[in-house]
């Protein structure tokens, strides 16, 4: 059965036979870049469609249902529309930063893709500080947002960007602490080791209550970090028109829009990797018959299944909860999530030292 691992291997050997190793490496880099862009555009189309359908059903509506069978091509039509639209730059804007900002946000999302494992042995770069890399690079995207807000020369954009800055800086703490919880249990920052450590059960089952608390905090924190409702103060349609991307139009707006969904995808892959075993099929202890049965499902399907489950939960949040005020938002982080996750960290450390987890 052709798995992603085999396909990658075949391409790699064929290139190395046909060309010398430097050319082969360059061609591989191009292939990776093209497939990353392809993945992003596919994700954009699928996730936006999914969001619109989920939101419609949760609000007792039908959602898009005219373009193509059951409205499936609505997002394709929207993308076409955005591509032919004029990308305007306001007169008072700082032109260079204004045009640079969407690309920074997008490139950051692409860079985070590198250490993520999409299937068994299918990973671009398995560096030994993978989790740290993801956590640190993802905070660069706030620079893109601040840049967009500042360069737009518009009060709404600036307010949205400032809020986004405050929000990401504070929620990164609890996201980081909940990631550390799993790092303590695993004893490694390397993504492949983290996934391997879950071969006899996912951390959310093995880690008892601390892992569960960390999971909940992680989900809340990444919802805030990706600027999604109920933490979408950076956009806040009803207060700030569209927040930091008020002045953007055409393809530059589409890049921001796409970056939001790609970021959701990335944090959900991360959540799935840390708590739900990444591409690891559902295994329970040493029950080999059950484990083998689960291994028949390809590992990439496992990862995408888990990721889309998490994405659905985040969408569910968005269409259920009302937006928080900025003071409530910071209260929630500094008074509730941070103390809880610190306490949780102690608990996990104790657990890891005493060896109470499975």
């Amino acid at each position: 059965m052709p798995s992603l691992e085999n396909i990658a291997d075949i391409i790699h050997t064929w290139l190395n036979i046909t060309f010398n190793s430097t050319t082969a490496l360059l061609i591989e880099l191009v292939i990776v870049a093209v497939s990353a862009i392809g993945l992003f555009s596919m994700l954009g189309l699928i996730l936006i469609m999914m969001e619109r359908k989920v939101s419609a059903y949760m609000q007792v509506r039908l959602g898009p249902n005219r373009v193509g069978p059951k409205g499936m091509f609505q997002t394709v039509a929207d993308t076409l529309k955005l591509m032919v639209k004029e990308g305007m730059t306001p007169n008072g804007a700082d032109k260079f930063l204004f045009n640079l900002a969407p690309f920074i946000v997008m490139i950051v999302a692409m860079v985070i893709l590198a250490p993520l494992a999409f299937a068994k042995n299918f990973q671009l770069w398995d560096l030994n500080i993978g989790i740290l890399f993801v956590a640190s690079v993802s905070s660069v995207s706030v620079i893109g947002i601040l840049m967009a807000g500042w360069a737009s020369n518009n009060k709404y954009s600036l307010l949205g960007a400032m809020r986004s800055g405050a929000q990401i800086v504070s929620y990164e703490l609890s996201a980081g602490l909940s990631i550390i919880t799993i790092v303590i249990l695993t004893g490694s920052l390397k993504i492949s080791t983290i996934i391997q450590s879950q071969s006899d059960g996912w951390w959310i089952f093995k880690g008892h209550i601390p892992a569960l608390i960390a999971f909940v905090i992680f989900i809340i924190a990444v919802t805030a970090e990706t600027n999604r409702a109920p933490f979408d103060l950076a956009e806040a349609e009803s207060e700030l028109t569209a927040g930091f991307h008020t002045e953007y139009s055409g393809m530059k707006f589409a890049l921001f829009f796409l970056a939001e969904y790609v970021n959701i995808f990335i944090v959900c892959v991360l959540g799935a990797t840390l708590f739900l075993g990444g591409w690891m099929p559902l295994h329970f202890g040493t029950d080999t018959r059950f484990n083998e049965l689960m291994d028949y499902i390809p590992s990439s399907l496992w990862l995408f299944g888990k990721t889309f489950f998490l994405i659905f939960i985040i969408m569910w949040f968005r269409w259920t909860f009302p937006r928080l005020r900025i003071d409530q938002l910071l209260n929630l982080e500094w008074k509730y999530l941070l103390p809880i996750s610190m306490f949780n960290l102690l608990l996990t450390t104790l657990m890891a030292i005493m060896g109470w987890h499975f």
Binding site: V54, Y57, M58, Q59, V60, R61, L62, W316, F317, W319, T320, F321, Y336, I340
Partner: protein
């Protein structure tokens, strides 16, 4: 004491959020609750709720009789001057003079469908109808006369 309140806050917050998510989760899985009407497609089977406000009409019974006394309460209640009541003086068989409705002019283009006229009417002579396809090519077509030709007031309505 402080810790108790703190934990209580968390408990109630999580509980109320879960209640909200159960509601939306229910809607997500129960598609029969969807209230969207796919309008031009289901023109034949369109079902509008009773309270839908399409336009003001005057109720006429089978004898072409209505209940409007021409009291102009609706005209006074209307915030947009949508209604213009033109009255006439009738002479009853006993020789008494009495004010009665001549023409009920209704400017649909001015109406905000606020329902105030219907509430104001002491004899329930007018009501809101379900019709909503009001587009016309000429604005003057939106000025309507609500009392039908040759209709008269039902006996016994004061």
């Amino acid at each position: 004491m402080f810790l108790k309140k703190y934990l209580q806050d968390i408990y109630y917050a999580v509980k109320s959020l879960l209640i909200g998510m159960r509601r939306t989760g229910y809607y997500f899985t129960h598609h029969k609750e969807i209230i969207t009407q796919q309008y031009p497609d289901n023109k034949d089977s369109l079902s509008l709720p009773e309270r839908f406000r399409g336009e003001v009409v005057m109720i006429h019974d089978e004898n072409n009789e209505h209940a409007c006394t021409g009291c102009t309460a609706c005209e006074l209640a209307c915030p947009n001057a949508t209604i213009k009541i033109i009255t006439q003086i009738d002479t009853t068989p006993e020789g008494k003079k009495k004010k009665a409705l001549n023409t009920f002019v209704y400017h649909l283009d001015l109406c905000t469908f606020c329902n105030l006229c219907i509430v104001a009417c002491p004899t329930d002579a007018i009501k809101m109808a379900n019709t909503f396809e009001h587009s016309v090519f000429d604005r003057s077509k939106l000025t309507k006369i609500l009392n039908k030709p040759d209709s008269k007031i039902r006996a016994g309505i004061e």
